[in-house]
Symmetry: C2
Subunit: 385 residues, 2 copies
């Protein structure tokens, strides 16, 4: 559901609302919460909702349903997985992350390293494996860079990290739902992702975790809430983890938010992921080509021209990127700004059309030709997103 | 909104839905998510929603608005606060909790103690201060016991723990919204509470944390997500905590769930908490008195007869408590069972009437007199809540 007059190129930040959500949420509130009350934990299977939601995400990342769990936020889930990884490699003393990653990943890694008394090692973003050695417990990387939209090679990096004995953790926030990833094929150990971008789960919707089956017997995570217990309602004094990825849950799951996500994922029913990827690349390639044709020399591309290294976004570098983005928004073309100088445009292949790409470039052309961006109203960087 | 034919005595587990919620949620979905899209972080002040929600909880716990934060689940929040407490007392080596607490609290405390290399010390529930000494970093207790409904004396325990130099952490899950608590008056250091019980925030709604102003300069919590950063959108490599309780946030807040909670809290506008407490005690006293009169000797009370030591629930001990609860549910009287032998009845003073108490006891009388509970259909303990 995109409002009239809006050309939405920010689905990589917050996906739009699937049309059926309000009806479905209304039913859930009235039938399950108001009428079913506490009985809905059983009767509406709220208790199984995290697993049912996970099962809908699994095929989007090349995983089995029981290798995925939905809980908490991506930040909190990454914390869990970093501790899991460190405990899988108790003899090692470093966690490797890259300094230009989405910042919450770095913040969380620093905190996990501090609690675990490990070294936090920043790697060279262009060659992360160089920082991974026999002392490394885990390498945590974001598959698609949130600024540039550049991708890492899942297979190459995963096997390289594992060759050093490190646990590979992928952050799939900017991939899932637009860039096919295959956890089985690349052999990743652990992964985390958010669901409010290309999965359209709603603002701040719950995140997911992946854990390869080979690790299921040793998932020793630190947020040992009762929903990760083997028998929550036995109310035992001591923690006994549930089996497999259920042990990655923590507190009571957010049922309303998870119902929204569960319902939003219906949009992906029957979608061919390779067709999705082809559409995504066609959209981003067309955008880049039109920019070069119509606005030659005006922007530098922060995004790789090689399609194999590109996510589902294009980021343009420009001194006045903030003002340019604001001027475009005023014209109904919604992208976003990322500090210090990036105008970022996401191309969600599920709902964007080629004509949208054409119209977006036409709007950008007008903004640049007319210098609309120089309007003093666009100079004030108070907007938070 | 209680369905016809239902007498709901389980608002201490999951509060019913306030009538205005579906309309409000529908508006939020359509106006803020679907129409406002990413701009709603600013235009609908999603960015400030956690603080706005916290400000509505603050008066219910005797706190200033900026001493409260809403984020994550109670389990995750307790983990944060235990680490905060330990870092406020770096020279100490024990965390004290009581073994019959709501289990997630014990599980989380054990995990925090393990990560921090501290001793987890189980105290005598009837005298928790005996386990608190000069080696104790924190004492974490649930104000109202989830099984018995017995309360601790907030003032006495807080001052006793602090006299030993320990940080006092209260779990207010079974208090807030039914049993007035005053964080300023008792001088508590930290507190956590859930919002889906007497606050009617919806299943799995976000939890809240309290931190006394005196600690705001030293809130060093471990789930350092970007929403706890001083400037999230500066996308800095290194973590710099936001000021005060905003630093207790972690990942992207769950906006849909938090909107439901924010709206549900309207029910408390203008409610006099001492009148609420008086109503609660009148309801539980009447229930206990009627049980004694009509079913003498049938049950033992797990709940204190002294009103000053009673929360807003009454728990009856009986060998066949599970079957009794199931038979009552079949009659439309919804309480719940807590292992091993408790039939638990919550009396939410906001919406329960005295006639409900009378009718509930009449139903219980019928169940016991007719031995309805002995129906084999009620023997199977498969229900999860």
């Amino acid at each position: 559901m995109i409002p009239d007059g809006v050309l939405y190129l920010d689905g990589n930040s917050l996906g739009p609302m699937p049309r059926h959500i309000p009806d479905r949420v209304g039913e859930m509130l009235t039938d399950e919460w108001a009428r079913g009350l506490i009985g809905s934990w059983n009767d509406a299977d709220w208790i199984g909702l995290p697993q049912r939601t996970a099962a809908k995400i699994a095929p989007l990342i090349g995983a089995d349903p029981d290798e995925v769990m939905v809980a908490d936020s991506a930040s909190v889930d990454l914390f869990k997985l970093l501790v899991v990884a460190a405990r899988l490699r108790p003899d090692r003393h470093a966690i490797v992350v890259e300094p230009t990653t989405f910042p919450t990943d770095g913040y969380i890694a620093a905190s996990a390293a501090r609690l675990l008394d490990l070294e936090l090692r920043w790697c060279d973003p262009s060659n992360p494996l160089a920082a991974v050695g026999r002392d490394t417990a885990a390498l945590a990387l974001t598959h698609v860079d949130f600024r540039s939209g550049a991708t890492y090679d899942l297979d190459l990096i995963t096997s390289g990290a594992q060759a050093q004995g490190a646990v590979m953790i992928w952050d799939l926030c900017h991939s899932v739902g637009a860039v096919p990833v295959d956890m089985h094929a690349c052999g990743a150990d652990l992964a985390v992702g958010c669901t409010y971008k290309y999965l359209n789960g709603g603002p701040g919707s719950p995140a997911f975790m992946y854990a390869a089956r080979g690790h299921h017997e040793r998932l020793d995570q630190p947020l040992t809430g009762w929903f990760g217990h083997a028998d929550p309602f036995a109310m035992e004094r001591d923690y006994r983890p549930a089996s497999g990825t259920t042990s990655l849950a923590a507190g009571t799951p957010p049922i309303v938010a998870m119902s929204v996500l569960h319902s939003a994922l219906d949009v992906f029913d029957g979608v061919d992921l390779s067709a999705l990827r082809a559409k995504s690349l066609a959209l981003t390639s067309m955008f880049m080509q039109l920019i070069e044709e119509r606005l030659p020399g005006m922007f530098a591309f922060a995004t790789p021209s090689d399609p194999a290294r590109r996510g589902s976004q294009v980021s343009l570098q420009h001194e006045h990127a903030y003002a340019v983005v604001q001027a475009l928004i005023k014209r109904g073309v919604v992208g976003d700004f990322r500090t210090p100088d990036l105008a970022r445009f996401g191309f969600a292949p599920l709902y964007l059309r080629f004509v949208d790409v054409y119209d977006a470039v036409a709007a950008l052309h007008s903004v640049m030709e007319s210098r609309e961006w120089a309007d003093p109203a666009f100079a004030d960087r108070t907007a938070v997103t």
